[in-house]
């Protein structure tokens, strides 16, 4: 399948050398996108109350974390050990593994900007897209979303609440894109040529070390344009050919090496741009 190209290509460049793994991006993402805090008990479901509990957030295999932070280790022992943190949103692949497999077109990459969409009311919850995504960027609603009493007052207007049984994923805070375009239209400027920063994701905005830079990868006026081309930049699992729109940056060779597999006798490519 060919890589889908768009005039506008929203992307991120994440500087791993600036990420401390504090988790602010993850919290910001959950608040922006109405991801319910994980609660063990469901007081409204008597069948649940009589049987097993739901999961709480320490079961990392059941969390809904569109943005999640991985801890990377250079796997050496003390004192040569090094650690790095890698935030992982949806890669919004140019050649997504998830889109062609969906049996009901509940996910698509069709809009100018190149964001991989997810249509919750259409998703049947087969989880085939989750099986397809090597980045684990897709999440399934294992349980009904539940806000402890009173907390549903603080719901964000930016993402509808998903019922259980559907798959969801990072949308690059898509409603902010719509807002930015509307604002541009109201101001009489071109919504297809937004200024750098006019549209920004919640995680990029909240990051205290500004490790995440967001913008149009095709627009030379946006910071990401140059950053993505930097010698320090790489993408995760480039060899699979999914063409992610999220780039990472680091000075550290060992971190770059963990961005892809290099054991298959194809030579240790230290520089992916070489």
């Amino acid at each position: 399948m060919e890589i889908k190209e768009f005039k506008i290509k929203w992307g991120m460049v994440i500087d791993i050398d600036k990420c401390t793994g504090c988790g602010a991006c993850m919290v910001g993402c959950q608040v922006e996108n109405n991801i319910a805090p994980m609660t063990k008990k469901d007081p409204y479901n008597y069948v649940q109350a009589l049987t097993t509990h739901r999961d709480d957030a320490s079961n990392k295999l059941r969390t809904l974390t569109w943005m999640t932070v991985y801890e990377l280790s250079n796997k050496k022992v003390f004192p040569d050990h090094e650690v790095a943190y890698l935030p992982r949103p949806c890669m919004q692949c140019g050649h997504p593994a998830c889109v062609p497999v969906c049996p009901v077109v509940a996910t698509d990459k069709n809009e100018e900007g190149g964001i991989v969409s997810q249509i919750y009311p259409r998703c049947i919850g087969c989880r085939y897209c989750m099986a397809a995504c090597p980045y684990h960027a897709r999440y399934f609603n294992w349980w009904d979303p539940l806000w402890p009493e009173g907390m549903d007052k603080g719901l964000s207007p930016n993402a509808s609440v998903r019922p259980r049984g559907v798959v969801e994923k990072c949308s690059f805070c898509h409603s902010r894109y719509l807002d930015a375009k509307n604002k541009a239209r109201a101001e009489g400027s071109d919504p297809m040529d937004l200024a750098d920063g006019a549209y920004n994701t919640a995680c990029a905005e909240i990051c205290p070390t500004k490790a995440i830079t967001f913008g149009d990868l095709n627009n030379p006026e946006h910071k990401v344009y140059e950053l993505a081309k930097s010698k320090k930049s790489f993408r995760l699992l480039e060899k699979l050919g999914l063409d992610p729109q999220v780039y990472y940056m680091t000075e550290r060779e060992w971190v770059r090496m963990q961005g892809d597999n290099y054991n298959g006798g194809d030579g240790a490519a230290s520089n992916n741009h070489g």
Binding site: N45, V47, Q48, T51, T52, R54, N59, L61, R62, Y70, E71, L72, S73, L86, A97, P100, V101, C102, P103, V104, A106, R122, C123, I124, G125, C126, R127, Y128, M130, A131, A132, C133, P134, Y135, H136, F140, N141, W142, W143, D144, R164, G165, V166, V167, L236, L237, K239, L240, G241, L242, M257, Q258, G259, D260, N261, Y262, N263, G264, G265, D266
Partner: protein, 412 residues
């Protein structure tokens, strides 16, 4: 008490004995239903599935029963299209087994998808690029075909068949059965392939990804071959199991051996390509994505022993056993080979479903081991119990085995 309902000229156990036999079956069925209620009411979180294993026991079970249920379409194809007459002695059983497997798989799929109310979206919003769309189409259509194939058998029940309309209906359906068998063979070949294609197209999962021919990855063809290589002998195993259980001869050994021969030949073809495919994957494809063969395996749960078991012990060995007449013609050997072959195809479906997902593609990620929980076991066993139930009722009341009277009563 219910002897009037029995097929013509056969003996069945007393109703009390039959009821006793039904107790454990219904027990398992109720247990599974309880699991199903939990899944539908509380959510799929009730199971052992998680973000890493979106597919698990259920999908493995589905794929395995669909592969084993392939006896129906393949035998139907051979009997109705290629006109291999001898197969009519077992064709009814293959239809019932196929029906059980496919309807059971569909029941499990209803539990497995998060929004069962939207299951029909596959028709309404189909994505023609998705192998799963093809699977949804073919499985639902083929299940309908199997129902159509099963219905005349029910209509031939002794008392029902006395009603002239039903008699006529059954007759008409029989007459048209070749049409359905042909349709079934087409649909079934496609979705057996699509199920394999589902995994083969996963460009993000190096364990499963395969290149292929046109839009079909090699797994497409391999899944078809492995299904037709084991489906027929699974039917033989079911028949033999029923014989042991009832103490009667239901199918003549000649037919069984023929089924074994057919399966064996297909299994040989399958193993040839499967080994070729594994080799090409290991030395051709994996290095291009920076991976080695060794990296595809982990610990005991996802160890190489499983691959070797699948390829050799449950692959090459049964294939040879089944194509060698001297081995195949000894009942114990035939059954052993059949069991091995069926295990092999189950392992194949399991590793493609679970190990594909367990392998951490991102180098900094780690292997996770998937354990199905009781809910998944219960609901899967529910389908097995459902199979026992349908088979028991069919055996008791429907003329499933045309040779039963001849083999058991006329020789005496």
């Amino acid at each position: 008490m219910d002897s009037k309902l029995f097929p013509e000229g056969v003996q069945r156990c007393s109703l009390g004995q039959f009821a006793l036999w039904m107790v454990p079956i219904l027990g398992v069925l109720v247990w599974g239903l309880y699991g199903a209620v939990l899944v539908l009411y509380n959510g799929i979180g009730t199971t052992g599935l998680d973000n890493y294993f979106g597919f698990g026991a259920w999908i493995t079970f589905d794929l395995a029963v669909i592969a084993l249920g392939a006896g129906a379409f393949f035998t139907g194809f051979l009997k109705y299209i290629l006109k291999i007459k001898q197969l009519e002695k077992i064709i009814n059983l293959t239809v019932i087994v196929g029906f059980i497997c496919y309807s059971g798989a569909m029941l499990v799929l209803t539990l497995d998808i998060g929004q069962p109310g939207r299951a029909w979206f596959g028709y309404w919003h189909p994505n023609v690029h998705s192998m799963l769309t093809e699977v949804i189409f073919c499985i639902t259509c083929y299940c309908t075909v199997l129902i159509i194939e099963f219905v005349p058998l029910i209509l031939e029940q002794k008392q029902l068949n006395k009603i002239p309309f039903i008699h006529a209906l059954a007759h008409n359906m029989h007459v048209n059965m070749a049409l359905f068998a042909g349709l079934g063979a087409f649909l079934s070949t496609f979705h057996q392939g699509s199920l394999g294609g589902m995994y083969g197209v996963l460009i993000g999962r190096p364990y499963a990804f395969r290149e292929g021919f046109f839009i079909w990855p090699w797994t497409f063809f391999l899944f078809v071959l492995s299904a037709v290589g084991t489906g027929p002998v699974f039917t033989v195993l079911v028949a033999t199991f029923m014989e042991k259980l009832t103490g009667k001869k239901l199918v003549d050994f000649k037919t069984k051996a023929l089924m074994g021969k057919i399966a064996g030949s297909m299994l040989c073809v399958y193993m040839f390509f499967k080994i070729l495919d594994t080799w090409a994957w290991a030395v051709g494809y994996l290095p291009t994505v920076g991976l080695t063969f060794d990296e595809m395996f982990y610990g005991i749960a996802y160890g190489k022993w499983m691959l070797w078991t699948e390829l050799v012990v449950c692959g090459v060995v049964p294939a040879i056993m089944l194509v060698t007449p001297s081995i195949r013609n000894r009942p114990a050997m035939l059954y052993t080979a059949a069991i091995l072959g069926c295990i092999g195809v189950c392992i194949n479906r399991y590793v493609f479903t679970v190990q594909s997902l367990a392998h951490p593609v991102m180098p900094f990620d780690s292997w996770h081991v998937y354990y199905a929980n009781w809910v998944e076991y219960a609901t899967s066993l529910m389908i097995v119990a459902y199979g026992f139930l349908v088979l028991s009722l069919s055996y008791r009341y429907l003329p499933v085995f045309p040779l039963e009277t001849k083999l058991n009563y006329q020789n005496k």
